[in-house]
Amino acid sequence: MTGARKLTMAQAINTALRDALTADRSVVVFGEDVGPLGGVFRVTDGLTRDFGEQRCFDTPLAESGIVGLAVGMAMNGLRPVVEMQFDAFAYPAFEQVVSHVAKFANRTRGRVRLPLVIRIPYAGGIGGVEHHSDSSEAYYAHTPGLTVLAPATNADAYALLRAAIELPDPVVFLEPKKHYFLAEEVDVLAPAPPIGRAVVRRAGRDATLIAYGPSVPVALAAAERAATDGRDVGVVDLRSIVPFDDDTVCAEVRRTGRAVVVAEAPGFASVASEVVARVTERCFHHLEAPVRRVTGFDVPYPPPELEGYYLPGTDRILDVVDDLQWDAT
């Protein structure tokens, strides 16, 4: 039996929420406009209608309030799944996330674990005005105690969200918003990948692109183009930023000897920096060239008319791949 159907990422996540609400009475969904409207991206479409106001509800407009409420509800036995409307609108909740969500289990010696999920539509490429396209993963990834997931496919969005809701620990779930309305095949009955496992999306002999979330399809497109130029470039999709899958990533890089990390966020002190640092520490003697980065520039996310120049694209990736000291070999 298979549960395969064509779903957009918004639908895949909606299905995951439905299935979780059905499977577990303790799951509750709330946030801004997630009720009758179904969320500004329609990710929670129909949940209030189908599961009632108690299971899916609109809160007053206050993000610290939403996350703080989720902390308390998780303390008292529920499994809240909250939506931050856009990446930059999660910042008001930062103190709650860093000082409580991330630290509660540790603070209480594991006696109070917080099984909650903070869903954040993130990153750019949708022509959004300021504050609607931030890639904020570094803030969360740097904060011990959080699990940080960033699916790149609709199937992963479904499976990882189900797993995130079941996890006893808090999860920051980053949804690449430019994928929301792209349809892909999703098999909801397929075995779910464990949290913390990267996946090799494309095997390659010559170099490895390492990406996550919205950068994965870009990396795949670059690899495709590289192939037509006669270069066999692989792509690893991290899926989980924390925990990090050193084994999968390093196995690939050791094989190819060359790696480029691709991410939308500004590069400075970013997740991409971390990937470069840890891959270099672990694979140093296998490297033919320094591990390089193709990231957003170290500037605020630009206005819609300029985002095409900001976002890592296939050209920029291929330029850096070309620069990986091929002569030396």
Binding site: D33, P36, V40, D58, P60, L61, P92, V129, E130, P302
Partner: protein, 352 residues
């Protein structure tokens, strides 16, 4: 605090019984004219969205009285702190509409010079700008200036922590700020009842120890009196005031919104009867102040504004990709210079 709604002109144009004295008729005429322009601007911007010239437009249709009054009660040296929804107020303050719409066209985040106009950039992160308004006001006092700051936000924004902190800072510092909450009944899809259990938003003033006033937000006359009074008090060292304007968002939240999911046509139709333009027109026509000729003049001015807006937005500003790097720091860091050079090389390669 007084919880009655201040109203001067009734929806049918009559003066309300026991109402305060209305502003002089010349002021009302100017206000009416500005509302006609504001309405036309809302319509034009909507059209530009449909034509794909603007990415998005949060309309203030139905809220034009608030938009116009907020700007009209200010002196030139005063400051306006608008939100994304307050395009019409910014234009009423005298900023070029094409510059204002730069944000929504997607060319740059803010297209006008905030210091030249004393108009802050239109704020997106809710309630955050209220604190900036308090800072500008407090700085004015420290410098010995008697400038006043008009700070706008919506009903939904009153739930944010920054709303609380801004009101409290203003009251404790005695800052010259008028907080104008346009209670248009919805925060996107969320109705007021899910936002607060308070008898009114103006009642929140009690908790800060400042005056709170509830005013009919579709009554330009009442708004002008209430806001004018609050501005005067602030200028005279009397500190901040919280004004709640009872109004309604006639359009969807933005073009991207689907208002049918959360409110009925009846409700919208009910508010159409309280339209701020119709009401003031009826009043001024009844008083014999608003002639056919004036109406024609206003309509022509509105068309001119619309045409100028349409042409400017359609023409577009042209963008420079390297501008991304130009303003982040007063002196670009070595890192940004390097990244800018990288982009320039890419563009040159593409161009060649």
């Amino acid at each position: 605090m007084d919880t009655a709604t201040v109203r001067i002109v009734e929806p049918d144009g009559e003066v309300a019984a026991g109402a305060p004295a209305p502003p002089p008729v010349a002021e009302l005429l100017a206000g009416y004219r500005a509302m006609v322009l504001a309405r036309r601007l809302n319509e034009q911007a909507g059209a530009l969205v449909r034509q794909g010239r603007l990415a998005v437009y949060p309309s203030s249709r139905g809220q034009e009285a608030c938009q116009v009054a907020a700007a009209a009660v200010l002196a030139e040296r005063d400051w306006l702190f608008p939100t994304y929804r307050d395009t019409a107020a910014v234009v009423a303050r005298g900023v070029d509409p094409v510059e204002v719409l730069t944000l929504l066209r997607g060319d740059w985040h803010c297209g006008y010079d905030p210091l030249a106009h004393r108009v802050a950039p239109q704020a997106t992160p809710l309630a955050t700008q209220l604190l900036h308004a308090v800072g500008v006001g407090h700085a004015a006092r420290l410098k010995g200036d008697d400038d006043v700051v008009m700070a706008l936000c919506g009903d939904g924004a009153t739930s944010e922590g920054d709303f609380h902190e801004a009101c409290n800072f203003a009251a404790v510092l005695g800052a010259p700020v008028v907080f104008l909450v346009q209670n248009n009944k919805y925060a996107i899809s969320v109705p007021l009842a899910r936002q607060t259990a308070a008898p009114s938003l103006a009642a929140k003033a009690v908790g800060y120890g400042m005056p709170g006033v509830l005013v009919d937000g579709n009554d330009l006359a009442a708004l002008t009196v209430v806001l004018g009074e609050a501005v005067r008090r602030a200028r005279d060292g009397g500190g901040p005031t919280l004004v709640e304007a009872d109004t309604y968002r006639m359009d969807a939240h933005t073009n991207a919104d689907d208002a049918g999911r959360y409110r009925g046509e009846d409700e919208v139709a009910g508010w159409a009867l309280r339209d701020p333009l119709l009401r003031l027109r009826a009043h001024l026509v009844a008083r014999g102040a608003l002639t056919e000729q004036l109406q024609a003049e206003y309509a022509a001015a509105a068309e001119a504004l619309a045409a100028r807006t349409r042409d400017g937005v359609t023409r577009g500003g042209g963008v420079d990709p390297e501008e991304m790097f130009a303003h982040v720091y007063a002196t670009p860091t070595a890192q940004l210079a390097e990244q800018r050079a990288l982009l320039r090389t890419e563009l040159e390669l593409e161009g060649s």
